[in-house]
């Protein structure tokens, strides 16, 4: 899937749905006994109509408007009547990617931070989730309780969980410094966790805590589709547990992993909630994830034009990564199957 292809299909094919529909309701109300061609043709579109309208209204139209906005000089004076904002050409983009000027430099820094953060967070979430699911494949006493317990971070509302972590990472009255400094004596003075360099570690810990149960859930579901007979045959051939995991379990999870890693990547890269609740509106530089960065720079300066340009750049990046990822992993899968 190339970014361009998605864009054009979105723009061209979509309006075809609703237009086609306008002819159909009559057909649906037509004589009941004689299911006409039109009726059977129109019904699926009618069923899709609500979903289509919503997706158009809340996702696709705003996205197109966002792209238009990125070419406008949309400062606070034009918010009420943004149609009158003058065109800015590529100015907003030029500002965003001028890495020698403050705006571009900050965006680049935020982007690189987000990349590193995403890489580490997705890796750890996947690793912990898979290990837990594989270890819990076989029944043992207390497995059901443990499984429910492991899903708690996933079920907790983000803000409730993250605000608790924020409390734990407080410098003077938090649990982390109490353990590290007071009880273990590892540091000379209690470090700050929510400002400065350490905030990256803080963000990573919270993100992994919150994110790994999703990997666990998906891998657990994936494990259920592995036929039992394969394990039995392997056991007959004398393969031990570790070998079974390496030779059967992990390879069987490949299709599941393809989707799981992609979803984790997109969610983590776009994560806004965690840094927002953890640090407030302005995140420290070391933990300035790109979503929060765009939000902050848009609503601080009320320059929606530049904010939109940054968002479009972000979307393009995600489309390219997703496209490359799907191409590479699908090819790898095909050649492995052959």
């Amino acid at each position: 899937m190339s970014p361009d292809a998605t864009m054009t299909t979105t723009a061209i094919e979509k309006p075809g749905g609703p237009t086609a529909l306008r002819h159909d309701p009559g057909a649906v109300r037509g004589p009941r006994r004689r299911p006409g061609r039109l009726r059977t043709l129109g019904l699926p579109y009618l069923l899709l109509l609500p979903a289509l309208v919503l997706e158009l209204l809340v996702h696709l139209v705003p996205m197109l408007i966002g792209i238009v906005m990125s070419f406008k000089e949309l400062t606070q004076f034009f918010i009420r009547d943004w149609g009158t904002a003058p065109w800015a050409g590529l100015d907003n983009y030029a500002v965003s990617v001028d890495f020698h000027a403050p705006v571009g430099e900050a965006l680049l820094n935020s982007f690189l931070t987000t990349c590193l953060f995403t890489l580490l967070s997705v890796g750890l979430c996947w690793l912990i989730g898979t290990a837990a699911a594989v270890f819990m494949q076989e029944t043992f006493r207390g497995r059901g309780v443990l499984r429910a317990l492991f899903l708690v971070p996933y079920a907790l509302p983000v803000y409730a969980a993250v605000i608790t972590w924020a409390f734990m990472f407080q410098r003077d009255n938090g649990l982390i410094n109490h353990v590290l400094h007071d009880q273990l004596g590892l540091t000379d003075s209690p470090p700050f966790w929510l400002i400065g360099e350490n905030s990256f570690v803080t963000l990573l810990v919270v993100s992994v805590w919150k994110g790994w149960p999703f990997a666990f859930l998906i891998v657990m579901a994936g494990l259920q589709n592995i036929p039992r007979e394969i394990y039995e045959a392997a056991a007959l051939d004398g393969a031990g547990v570790w070998q079974q995991i390496r030779r059967i379990t992990l390879p069987s999870l490949r299709p599941v992993n393809q989707v799981l890693v992609l979803v984790l990547f997109l969610w983590t890269f776009n994560d806004f909630n965690t840094p927002f609740v953890l640090f407030g509106r302005a995140a420290p530089e070391a933990a300035d994830l790109v979503s929060l960065h765009i939000y902050q720079s848009s609503f601080q300066t009320w320059n929606f034009g530049t904010g939109s340009a940054m968002s479009v750049l972000l979307l393009l990046f995600l489309l390219v990564v997703t496209g490359v990822y799907l191409t590479v992993t699908s090819r790898g899968r095909k050649s492995a199957d052959a």
Partner: protein, 291 residues
């Protein structure tokens, strides 16, 4: 429909020591990691303010329920609660109904544009929320100016927005679930005189209840926990818990015991609901998403 809700056991052979030890160590550490914030949340919510303002204490010096009384006064938590309930509840009901119709169409009918529809809907999942936050903000403000329908700052605008958040995943999961309901069943219902909708509601929906429950749980959790749009699109009267909870930290000193008590109170409904229904989510995922 998948009825096996437990994983296939690996082998009848006894597991070696190395495996059992690694498992015990790993799962113990992980349990500690998972439980630590839960313990902090529960224990701190029962502490007097002095305990949470000074050095952290593993054991509360005394247990008190006053934070649970005070949380309702420090900020209008009850109002936020009602707002969250109304918004998340309405968004869930609407999005589940819409997803059922859409998934039925994709699962049971061949039509032009089917692939475009599924790909487009799924790909909206990858858009950064920030990308359509700004335009949606403008659209809602301008619709309000032009028609007088207040979408910006109202519950209605938030409901409309949240409905679409869970929609792609819900449709995707329900397609898989509906596909696993044998077609013979709805064909038979049609022969018996049911219309297409009759077949949907009398045959397919009852057979897919676990999937629908799973989707509803997911939709509710998504709406209940959303922060970004709630922080921009609500005002003092429509504020939801996601934003309202930060009100405890507004002043110079933070009432951490109240923050923890309030966090616990807003978490209980979703966590309880999720844990009760989680096995449907796993079955739903097995049938739908993971294939």
């Amino acid at each position: 429909m998948p009825s096996h809700s437990r994983p296939a056991p690996r082998s009848p052979m006894a597991a070696p020591r190395s495996f059992l030890w690694s498992r015990a160590v790993f799962l113990t550490l992980l349990t500690g990691f998972v439980l630590l914030p839960v313990y902090v949340m529960v224990s701190s919510s029962l502490k007097p303010l002095a305990d949470v303002s000074g050095k952290f204490q593993w054991i509360p010096s005394e247990l008190t329920l006053t934070p649970y009384r005070d949380i309702w006064k420090t900020v209008p938590l009850a109002d936020y609660f009602v707002n969250s309930l109304v918004v998340a509840g309405s968004a869930t009901v609407c999005s589940v109904v819409i997803a059922v119709f859409a998934a039925y169409a994709v699962s049971r009918y061949a039509f032009r544009g089917k692939r475009v529809f599924t790909v487009t809907v799924l790909s909206t999942q990858m858009f950064p929320g920030i990308l359509f936050l700004l335009p949606l903000f403008l659209i809602y403000v301008n619709i309000g100016n032009a028609t007088g329908i207040a979408l910006f700052g109202s519950r209605g605008g938030l409901i409309l927005t949240y409905m679409t958040f869970s929609l792609p995943f819900s449709i995707w999961m329900l397609i898989g679930y509906f596909d696993s309901v044998p077609r013979d069943l709805d064909e038979a219902a049609k022969v018996d005189g049911c219309g297409p909708l009759g077949a949907l509601f009398r045959v397919i929906v009852p057979a897919a209840v676990p999937g629908i429950v799973a989707v509803a749980v997911y939709a509710f959790m998504t709406a209940w926990g959303e922060v970004l749009f709630a922080s921009v699109m609500t005002n003092d009267t429509t504020r939801t818990l996601a934003v309202g909870l930060q009100g405890y930290a507004g002043q110079n000193d933070v009432y951490w015991n109240q923050v923890m008590a309030a966090s616990l109170v807003v978490s209980v409904p979703v966590v309880a609901g999720f844990l009760l229904l989680q096995r449907y989510l796993v079955t739903g995922l097995t049938a739908g998403a993971v294939k």
